[in-house]
Amino acid sequence: MRREGSAFQGLGVVMLKELSDHLTSIRMRVLEWLVVLVALAALYGAIQQIKETTAEDPFLFLRLFTTSRDPLPSFVSFVSFLVPLMAIGLGFDAVNGEYNRRTLSRILAQPIYRDALLFGKFLAGLVTLAISLITLWLLVIGLGLLLIGIPPGAEEIGRSFLFLLVTIIYAGVWLALALLFSIVFRSAATAALVTLGLWLFLMFIWPVLAGAVAQIVAPPDPRYVALGLPTPETTEMEQILARLSPSTLFAEVVVALLDPTTRSLGPIYLSQLQGAVLGAPLPLAESMLIAWPQTVSMIAAVIMLFVVGYVIFQRQEVRA
């Protein structure tokens, strides 16, 4: 059965309205300040560290993102756990908020499909996140220029720009997750708690748990243990499991992009190292190739989470 008209009728209207809601909301202000302050702190630490220790480094500018100085973590690790927080903050009450304000049935009684409402909300959230992240990125580049005084090379700009794109995709994963839970749970508080719980789990607990589960699924070979070496099967299993978490995927992509010497994201066998010049940087295209599977996985996660939410939303009753 074909539906009449376009599923995207009204999409632009919904998106612009949601975007203006996001950009004027107090919640967004708070999140922005949180991110900016934290990023500045991390950047300051990184610059201090670079000034003290670096002699010569062809990718000095990229060190801005990855260098950490105790007790502060690096800019990248800050981003990897603050961006989900921002995305969840924007998305946790997207749909159930409409129910609770009792605006949903009134809006859906206008000549639009539910598709437009859901997609508009997702796009508005993503654009909001993109605006904040681009601002943050420009801020970091500008401060780096001022404080280090060395202009970045073209490749460094390219690499950091790809890092920005990947961060936006990473934000999209968490936004889609928050949107999904905002559809599933009628109470915004429940949706927020569940999403934050899942965030904590995937971010901090799962990487540890993945190791334990891998030990059970693929027990270490006693011969390797006797030699004090990790069993390749166990290590591989651990990595597969850990990659179920978007934070692991993001961390791997970031390493590949911001550290040009990264040659592989998995275990390396001795045979693969034959002929390699250790510590030599890879060209940008090669680094992108290494990061590609992880990036695609994150895009797939966004689509999958959105589709699940979409299907549930289509079947939901509109009455409150």
């Binding site: 049935s105 009684a109 000549p111």
Partner: protein, 324 residues
């Protein structure tokens, strides 16, 4: 679909698992008519409305709204029909006009037309002074009126109002009903649902009484009154005078006289006997202080109908037991 009907439902059914929320409901709403879906909460009124708007799937039967099938052509239906949901909500942080602007953009009105329509609609419902006030400061009645303004702005041919008067004080209810009457005078058909029978009785041309997902009774209030309460007229009279009751009983057409208080009598008759009753009192040189005929009342109709039905059911069960 006939020319005069804007809504035609035939055998409309909605099931949730095994439970039937709406069970084989058929009705029509004529052009420019105010039609009431009345009945207790949970009788299936809102579900029926949502099916007409294509906002929930139809399990069986079919409905045509202005000739369109809401399941297949929801956009065409929703472009022409205005809907005021039960306890309507607005975006509290936006002003009244901004809330309407959002809806107007969703409908697709151009900027110039939009502003004119919004101003007109707010004016019509008496909210013209509140266009730039945030909706968070609005009372319940004002929100309901803003909901009606949205329907006016849309230029809808049919207004579907779900419980428009629930939770309103008498004054706000009167204002709202006046606006609803205004719809009718402009040729907009109105379908409204309510569980407060006596409040909406005055505006409805025809009503359908819902019970347990079915339409129990349908017709104009006067027709239903005759059908359920019997064809009789009930005349209340307040007068003094000894033996008045006996003399009133002799009036042709009076089937019974009931004493309902000191100097208060109730006559049951098969026609309007007010002139004769007045003449009797005057002839006795009594003092007539009140004389009135009872209009058929929806509450009474509803209560009487379901009492009769329950008794009927019980008798049937009795009969079945005896037979066994």
């Amino acid at each position: 679909m006939s020319e005069d009907n804007v809504i035609e439902a035939t055998g409309l059914t909605k099931t949730y698992g095994r439970a039937k929320a709406v069970d084989d409901v058929s009705f029509t709403v004529g052009r420019g008519e105010i039609f009431g879906l009345l009945g207790p909460n949970g009788a299936g009124k809102t579900t029926t409305i949502l099916m007409m708007l294509g906002l929930t799937d139809i399990s069986g039967g079919e409905v045509r709204v202005l000739g369109f099938d809401p399941a297949r052509e929801p956009l065409s239906v929703k472009r022409r029909v205005g809907y005021l949901p039960d306890t309507v909500g607005f975006y509290d942080q936006l002003t009244a006009a901004d809330n309407l602007r959002y809806t107007a953009r969703l409908i697709g009105f151009r900027a110039h037309e939009r502003e004119k329509r919004i101003a007109d609609a707010l004016d019509r419902v008496g909210l013209d002074g509140f266009a730039d006030k945030r909706v968070s400061t609005f009372s319940r009645g004002m929100r309901q009126r803003l909901g009606l303004a949205e329907i006016l702005m849309k230029g809808a041919q049919i207004a579907i109002l779900d419980e428009p008067t629930s939770g309103l004080d008498p004054h706000a209810t009167a204002e709202l009903l006046a606006i609803i009457r205004g719809f009718k005078s402009e040729g907009v058909s109105v379908l409204l649902s309510s569980h407060l029978l006596e409040r909406v009785q005055s505006v409805c041309d025809r009503v359908a009484l819902f019970s347990g997902g079915r339409i129990a009774l349908m017709g104009s209030v006067a027709d239903l009154g005759r059908e359920v309460l019997g064809g009789g007229f009930v005349v209340d009279i307040e007068a003094d005078g000894a033996g008045l009751a006996d003399r009133l009983a002799l009036i042709p057409g009076v089937s019974g006289v009931e004493k309902i208080g000191i100097g208060k009598l109730r006559l049951h008759a098969d026609r309007d006997v007010r002139p004769e009753a007045a003449a009797e009192v005057v002839a006795m040189e009594g003092r007539l202080t009140y004389l009135g005929v009872q209009e058929p009342n929806l509450d009474a109709i509803y209560t009487r109908y379901f009492e009769a039905k329950r008794e009927g059911d019980m008798q049937m069960k009795e009969g079945a037991r005896h037979a066994a």
